[in-house]
Symmetry: C2
Subunit: 651 residues, 2 copies
């Protein structure tokens, strides 16, 4: 069953056995759900090219075209359909922002070939607090990404099958569960499994936009037949700068996910930084073209933002003239890309949680890889939180968006500001000097001024967008995130301090005098002289010869009977009967124990041995007073006291 | 602090100390709520006379006049106001039933001077199952009594202050809480505390009925001004026999509580049976007169049953001509008698639970008297269940009544049938022979035939009423109770069997060879070499010299580092490193322990010593893997294994 791999007795004289099990773990119901356990040695070390890389990392970013145009229109709807004319200019501004961020991130990719997420860049260049802020913002970002993407996916499905509209929340949670299970199984991020759906989406999206422009230029496009009702109820507002900025803020959700590649540079084939950088440029270009094209066409066909039917569905059925095969392909492609975006959240949230946990800011358990070599606890945590969000916000993308992009832009800002500071540090290094930081190596570069300018511009622009977002969306829900980020940062610090204190307290000190335990007192509380008590007594006798049995008496007659029985069965062990005129059980026992603790000498340890029935049926436990459990709770914080329950099986 | 009462070393050579604490328990927040703890010696042993006895035991029975006439009218309302003419004949039939039950119970009181509740009478004369049925019926009865009485009390308060009508449920639960707290404090059942409110109620009730008849005979009574809307909605039904029987069933709720005195004979002054019997006759007479008088007057004034205003309130304001002082006195008196009825439930439910628990049919904990010498657990259980019922049935008396009286009449039937069987047994005794049963003494009596006839008649009549009730109220809710009683009986038996098996398993056997433990193996699983582990190691070393430290390794480098540290710090103790290629913690440990258990010899015991951090803040526990707790759960059902957590305080 188990073989002895090696057994050695070294100079220390300590016998050390090292055993490796030969067989795999026993089968369980989980295997069926998430697959058989994988040994640690199976961790994959593959790299991917640009084409596959685009598919793996673009899901999150490209999925934005499913909701960003719609959310821009939702805000503009406050000014009536007349407001919709501002959608395209806003899309141009968003695309410009996209270009700036893409250029700025190129430098991050080259500077951090080992992966340069906002948390790592901020940690290396800005210090602990900004890094923790970036970490908190990103964790929130991933949770909202998962919630928004499944909510939007659910909306696409409902657009194609309006009969399902009352199952909006259930469909969204179903999607989360499926993606969670797939991730618990473990997703191979490389390979065609990703490429096929992403390129399918790209084909359908470009076909829809292409056919749309063809019909636009030939004058046969027309407008949406039988459009859904405009959801916006209320007085039509004038078009104000504030409204435009709010619509712009919603449009910036198109940028979510473009930073993904900077986290995953290591996944690319060599020259990895170059490959990753080019892939990112391609991705941004595709995103920009689709975003501009879709927004332009939506205005032409007079699409109306609505929870009942997505604008993508309105565009597709107008462009193709019916809800035919090509329409269905567009909806399926869009839903698939949204599912892949959710998958990104399920890949990145547990990974970032594990990084934060290794650094001591989150519970250590999050670093533990489950049976399938994935960070299972983080995956489950994300699934639960995202499901709660979907229920709370009734699977409405419009309700979730105000909470979302602020975290994304805050992390952009911190990351780019960190990069700018990094160039400043590089500029002030002595020539040919290298400096090793935790995430990268600093080497002097002559052109550091212009590079600092590019990242500085990125930081500046995204900072402004963050502020605009915070102000315009504050009431709509951004306040929740603005409140949550500092709370998370405080929690990170508290957890960090706890682990630090624990480590200090547990550290071995060579100079500490190690005194051995000199006296071992055993206290044996019991409730009656029976087999269970005698089992505990015979256990107590092998622990120490210094035993005191304690009986709490609420009735003099019973005490007398116990005394007589103990004289027969007590094996000569000292018995103390504690009268309890107030019929309390625990209190007299505790005060007796306290008294003994009080008289305790140094190097004396006290063990309390409690007989404990193990009944045949779990429900029988309610028929017994759980004295041992209550004693344990009462004495938990007393040093030098060990509580031992001696089980006695009853059958 | 504690004095040594006596200390003796008897022939057995066992030192036995008996200690009695001098001081009272420390103050706690509970003292403010329910009073300071009382020593066992303070249990009262007072007896009461007939006048006070009437007050103590009549609350439950007399309170029926507050709802029984109303519930009769509620059913008749199905036939429109024309149905109300049948109320008085029904009341006459109910009063006749009351007379039969009273006469029948006289014999119970004389036969069981030590208290003859239905459970005891059925147990002695009919056997275990009928006794358990009676017990189950009575427990349900007391719960429903509490719920109905506070619901009716709440309805009286709302009748006087209609503005409170939306707080119906809250008022009812508030009443339960107050009565529960009073009972946790402990109620002295003797004394004027009971006499004043009961006689106040009697005065107001007789005044209302008296003035009502005076005005009726002088022709000045008139009808209810501005009566509430009739709640009944639906087609007016014809008056059928079934409807009359349903109304009669509701009317029989007037009999609930008349049996109370038979439980409490011991509380009376000598000659106690005679005093108790006379008190019961007085009580029944008063109840009959009030019930008949009120029902008669209600018909004359054209009162309408309604959840908005009770018929008592309609009667009082019609009799007194306004909502003046006398009206308020009547409402207050009625509410008080309902509160006292609830109090009866809180006195009797815990007492019956304790009797059932002593007999082994309910958890032993119910026999425990709390700090104020009352069965606190039973009181709290009743308060919780009754509150749930009030919430579930929206504090509606009409909704609760169908569940109720069936339990009462079932217990009447069993009790009277038991009595009849007792007379049969007495008749077949040899002359001048005595037979001791658990609850009473059987002595031959010449007139046993007629006595058996009286109890037999009582049993027969109440059995018919039970059947009528079960049939006519089945759909309305009686099915719940008909289902619940067998479930409770099965639960009683299961609990009884559990305690029997436990007792058999724990019984000391003199002839059993007592072999002492020969080998004590200690297993010390640990997660790292640090102060906590060394504390556990030094504890393990005083337990046994046969120690194996076990480390589960998920990473070869870490295993190497642990091995090196153990050679320095391990005090030469044997170390086993278990490789865990599937990154499982508990499973390799468990399979190693299983292997050791497998190889175990007889008289060998295994102790698993687990280091356990005690952090400063409770929340820090989520930051640690609770290995010890998980191990305990996994090994709970393995005999011969003791798990010991050695606490290590971290600060």
């Amino acid at each position: 069953m188990i073989n002895q791999a090696n057994s050695n007795e070294e100079d220390s004289g300590t016998a050390i056995l090292h055993r490796t099990p030969q067989k795999r773990p026993a089968k369980s119901w989980q295997d069926w759900l998430i697959g058989r356990p994988l040994p640690t040695a199976d961790a994959p070390h593959q790299t991917i090219g640009k084409l596959v890389g685009l598919a793996v990392f673009a899901g999150d970013a490209l999925s934005s075209v499913a909701y960003a145009p719609q959310e821009t229109l939702v805000i503009l709807a406050a000014a009536g359909t007349a407001g919709f004319q501002y959608a395209f200019p806003i899309a141009v501004a968003v695309t410009l922002l996209l270009a700036i961020v893409t250029i700025s991130y190129q430098q991050t990719i080259h500077a951090y070939p080992g992966g340069g997420g906002a948390y790592i860049v901020a940690r290396d260049n800005l210090g602990e607090i900004p890094a923790q802020i970036a970490g908190a913002a990103l964790l929130i970002d991933y949770i909202l990404l998962a919630a928004v993407a499944v909510a939007s996916g659910s909306a696409q499905i409902i657009s194609a099958y309006p009969a399902l509209s009352s199952y909006r929340v259930i469909i969204a949670i179903g999607l989360i569960l499926v993606i969670m299970l797939v991730n618990l199984r473990g997703v191979k991020e490389s390979g065609t499994a990703f490429a096929i759906p992403v390129y399918f989406f790209l084909a359908t999206a470009f076909l829809t936009v292409g056919v749309g422009f063809l019909r636009f230029f030939t004058g046969t496009l027309g407008t949406v037949i039988d459009p859904p009702m405009l959801d916006y109820v209320g007085l039509t507002q004038p078009v104000t700068l504030f409204l435009i900025l709010r619509a712009f803020s919603s449009g910036t959700t198109a940028l979510t996910g473009v930073e993904c590649i900077s986290n995953g540079v290591t996944a690319f084939k060599e020259p990895r930084s170059q490959n990753a950088g080019l892939t990112m440029i391609w991705m941004s270009a595709i995103l920009g073209v689709l975003f501009l094209g879709i927004t332009f066409l939506l205005h032409q066909i007079g699409a109306v933002p609505s929870e009942a039917e997505t604008v993508i569905s309105q565009l597709a059925r107008t462009v193709y003239g019916s809800r035919g095969f090509l329409y269905m392909c567009t909806i399926i492609g869009t839903t698939i890309i949204l599912v892949l975006a959710t998958n990104t959240a399920f890949a990145d949230f547990p990974r970032l949680s594990a990084i934060l946990a290794v650094d001591g800011f989150l519970p250590r358990q999050l670093t533990f890889r489950g049976s399938r070599l994935v960070y299972s606890r983080g995956i489950v945590a994300l699934g639960v939180i995202a499901s709660l969000l979907v229920i709370l916000f009734n699977a409405s993308v419009t309700a979730l968006v105000p909470l979302w992009a602020i975290g994304v832009f805050l992390s952009f800002t911190l990351s780019q500001f960190g990069m700018a500071h990094r160039w400043w540090k590089i500029g002030h290094l002595k020539q040919k000097m290298e400096m090793q930081e935790r995430g990268s190596v600093l080497v002097y570069e002559p052109g550091w001024h212009s590079k600092m300018f590019i990242n500085g511009l990125g930081a500046f622009v995204t900072a402004i967008v963050t502020a605009v977002f915070a102000i315009t969306k504050f009431q709509g829900g951004a306040w929740i995130v603005i409140l949550l980020i500092p709370i998370l940062v405080v929690a990170f610090s508290a957890i960090y301090r706890h682990y630090r204190r624990l480590a200090a307290s547990l550290a071995l000190k060579h100079d500490k005098p190690r005194s051995h335990i000199k006296r071992h007192r055993v206290i044996l509380p019991f409730s009656g002289v029976h087999e269970g008590t005698l089992a505990a007594l015979s256990y107590a006798r092998i622990l120490s010869s210094d035993i005191t049995a304690v009986y709490v008496s609420m009735d003099n007659n019973e005490a007398e009977s116990i005394r007589k029985k103990w004289e027969v069965w007590g094996e000569g062990v000292r018995l103390v009967i504690l009268d309890s005129p107030y019929r309390l059980l625990l209190e007299p026992l505790l005060s007796y124990i306290e008294e003994i603790i009080h008289k305790r000498q140094p190097n004396e340890i006290i063990t309390i041995v409690v007989p404990h029935f193990i009944p045949r049926h779990w429900w029988s436990n309610v028929l017994h007073t759980q004295t041992a459990t209550m004693l344990r709770l009462a004495l938990l914080f007393r040093p030098g006291i060990v509580i031992t329950e001696v089980p006695y099986q009853v059958d």
